[in-house]
């Protein structure tokens, strides 16, 4: 069905408005990061700083161990993403291909578990990790992140597995491929975009997570970036706005870079033409 020109124009306008809407906070963050203190509290703020400065970045690095915290965040987020995907993939395959009341119930439980508030689970989790000697350690935090992101990762991957036509696996079986060979050579490549998207989800969840990291990591050398960012905040929400904006801007860069690198893998139509209709 062809879309009329006015309708198409309307779609583009709507898309542009949406892009502006979602880009606004980030653009404002960048603008704030480069403003000197006196430009931060004016009645008529400008998009482009009148007197741009790098002082906020210098202050941010002087006041807090940002690089070390970023490294901790990176280790935690990458590890959590990889482990979550490795664990979730075979589980998702089973749940997608062998439907039963159990798998339906499991999927329902996965969705419900996402509604649990952090404060409900943090104390038992803390006690368990303490007895495993994993308090104040990145492996402990990674374990929590894996557990926390696993249900949603599983739910995502089940959908991706279901999108891979079973006929392809059947065709491979007819050609004499073993089950393992079919999974490795046929299913896994077709699942690649889903795996990447799931890993990205788990990465971003872990990269941005604050509360678990705040509670589980005590010493400054172990703390992650979101925890260190709150050190620019005082009681009753008072903030050292310039350095906070500078540090927050830097904190968003890894997510953006990783997303930019792999976004083609997510959006690429790898299934196009896989099955003749």
């Amino acid at each position: 069905m062809r879309t009329s020109k006015p309708a198409r124009a309307g779609q583009y306008v709507a898309l542009l408005c949406y892009l502006i809407f979602i880009a606004f906070p980030f653009a404002w963050l960048i603008s704030t990061a480069f403003k000197p203190p006196r430009e931060l509290a004016t009645l008529h703020p400008t998009w482009i700083p009148k007197d741009p400065t790098l002082q906020n970045f210098r202050d941010a690095f002087d006041q807090q161990p940002l690089l070390h915290a970023a490294l901790n965040s990176l280790i935690a987020a990458v590890s959590a993403a990889l482990i979550a995907v490795v664990i979730a993939t075979p589980m998702a395959y089973v749940m997608a291909r062998h439907r039963s009341k159990l798998s339906t119930a499991a999927t329902g439980w996965v969705v419900v578990s996402q509604a649990f508030p952090f404060v409900l689970i943090i104390i038992p989790l803390f006690l368990i990790l303490k007895n495993l000697y994993l308090i104040n350690s990145l492996p402990g935090l990674i374990m929590v992140y894996v557990v926390w992101s696993l249900p949603f990762a599983l739910w995502m991957l089940v959908g991706y597995v279901r999108a891979v036509p079973p006929e392809l696996e059947e065709a491979a079986a007819v050609d004499g491929a073993s089950k393992l060979r079919t999974l490795v050579s046929v299913t896994a490549p077709l699942l690649a975009p889903g795996l990447v998207a799931t890993a990205l989800f788990a990465f971003i969840t872990a990269w941005n997570e604050f509360f678990f990291a705040l509670v589980l990591l005590k010493t400054p050398e172990k703390q992650t970036l979101p925890v260190v960012l709150t050190h620019f905040l005082g009681a009753e929400g008072v903030a050292d706005l310039g350095p906070l904006a500078a540090a927050a801007f830097l904190a968003t860069i890894p997510s953006l870079v990783i997303f930019a690198i792999i976004q083609k893998r997510i959006t690429g139509g790898m299934l196009a033409g896989a099955v003749k209709s």
Binding site: A41, F211, D240
Partner: protein, 433 residues
């Protein structure tokens, strides 16, 4: 193949084994090997100068006390209550804890904090006024040392006020609430306002300033139970603010949902003549005020009880699980020696609670309004809600929406009273059975 039943039993047993030692509250954090003690000190200092002062003091202590080392841990005001609660429950709390007195009640009554009464030195007990000790006294025990506090003051546009010809108040001759209202009316007009009230958190502002007019709101009976009563004294502050916003239009409605920092652009842009803020906001004003902008610190208006107002001081506490409470308290004593307390106060742009530190000449300069703030110290009292169990729920469910609606003009004084008292007492009663 093992039966699923056995697997489940094993899993349950494993989980219980994992949990039991933790429930016993075992902790070896504060003990070091070879007789050396290591104490963990979680600080919530966040301003650059304040963090530096805290770290320097820890360094000085460690240099002088090789057998009792203190490890500085940077905490965060954000979610501090949940973080501490989890640490207490898990038996992993820091030994020395920085917090605010209004956050301590649950921890003190819950048995998580050590009663410092037998550990306090005579110097510290006498140097910090009784009214400050009241903020950390719960039942029979003292669960923290109050060391920094900040009164709410009025930050004013000096040029605007001086050129208007209004009487400039001082701590000796403050404005009354009626005079304050007439001054703000006089300063308003042509899209400008005499005062901007940042009322994102309306309850603490109203209750704390309400003490000046004799408002107490919470009344403790002989049986120890607390009830809410809305007396004539309680009506003065909210009545004045409400009239400024809705009758005189000398205060904008747009700042009703604002925090203190949000009002600064309008203040610097000559839209508001005055903004009531915490004393520590001066640091932001020094940093962000445009060049040539002249500002001054004025005392909050006085009522029948003079300049009295409620505060919740910052505190240093010792964890009940700490195995070396005496040494932890010695460190607190060191941190709060007059000279050190002045360093901490200057770093946080706040006032020290202790009399000797407060007398330091560095805190009495006219520059940046220090002198006005120190003059107010004698009038600071425990925040009315300080030790009221159930206050957080009363605040969130009853008082905050009620005050927000009242200040926006949606409900009148009678309805405000009904909600605060009738609905409020139902909430408090649940905590006092």
């Amino acid at each position: 193949m093992r039966s699923p039943e056995i697997t489940r039993r094993q899993a349950l047993a494993g989980a219980l084994l994992t949990l039991l030692p933790a429930a016993a509250g075992c902790s070896d954090d504060s003990s070091g090997s070879g007789g050396k003690i290591t104490l963990q000190f979680q600080s919530l200092a966040w301003q650059e100068e304040s963090v530096a002062a805290n770290k320097e003091l820890v360094k000085e202590w460690n240099a002088a006390h090789p057998d009792v080392q203190v490890k500085y841990i940077q905490g965060s005001w954000d979610s501090v209550h949940d973080q501490l609660l989890t640490s207490f429950e898990g038996g992993e709390a820091p030994d020395i804890i920085h917090d605010a007195s209004d956050d301590l009640a649950d921890f003190a009554y819950g048995g998580y904090l050590a009663d410092l009464t037998p550990l306090l030195s005579a110097r510290l007990k006498s140097d910090i006024p009784a009214r400050s000790w009241e903020t950390t006294t719960f039942g029979e025990g003292v669960y923290g040392v109050p060391f920094l506090q900040e009164p709410r003051v009025i930050i004013a546009n000096a040029k605007w006020l001086k050129s208007s010809g209004v009487r400039i108040p001082t701590p000796d001759k403050p404005w009354s609430w009626e005079e304050f209202r007439s001054v703000t009316k006089e300063l308003s007009g042509d899209g400008k306002f005499g005062v901007a009230w940042p009322l994102k958190e309306p309850v603490s502002v109203t209750l704390n300033l309400g003490l000046s007019a004799g408002g107490e709101l919470f009344h403790r009976g002989e049986d120890g139970k607390v009830t809410v009563r809305f007396t004539a004294g309680d009506q003065v502050v909210p009545g004045t603010i409400q009239a400024q916003i809705n009758t005189d239009h000398s205060s904008p409605t747009t700042t009703l949902g604002s925090g203190g920092s949000d009002t600064l652009p309008g203040f610097f842009g000559n839209k508001y003549a005055m903004v009531p803020l915490g004393f520590s906001y001066r640091q932001q004003i020094v940093q962000q005020a445009p060049k040539g902008f002249e500002w001054m610190v004025l005392p909050a208006p006085a009522g029948s009880a003079g300049l009295a107002q409620g505060v919740s001081p910052q505190t240093l506490s010792v964890s009940e699980d700490c195995e070396h409470k005496k040494e932890a308290m010695e460190f607190v004593e060191f941190m709060l020696q007059p000279r050190n307390m002045v360093r901490l106060a200057k770093g946080d742009w706040m006032l020290p609670t202790a009399t000797e530190a407060l007398a330091d000449p560095a805190l009495h300069t006219e520059k940046d309004g220090w002198a006005t703030g120190t003059a107010l110290a004698a009038y600071l009292r425990p925040a009315p809600a300080q030790s009221v169990r159930g206050y957080p729920e009363w605040k969130d469910k009853i008082a905050t929406p009620a005050f927000q609606e009242y200040y926006s003009g949606a409900i009148d004084t009678a309805e405000l009273e009904k909600r605060l008292v009738k609905d409020g007492n139902l909430v408090l009663a649940r905590y006092q059975r």
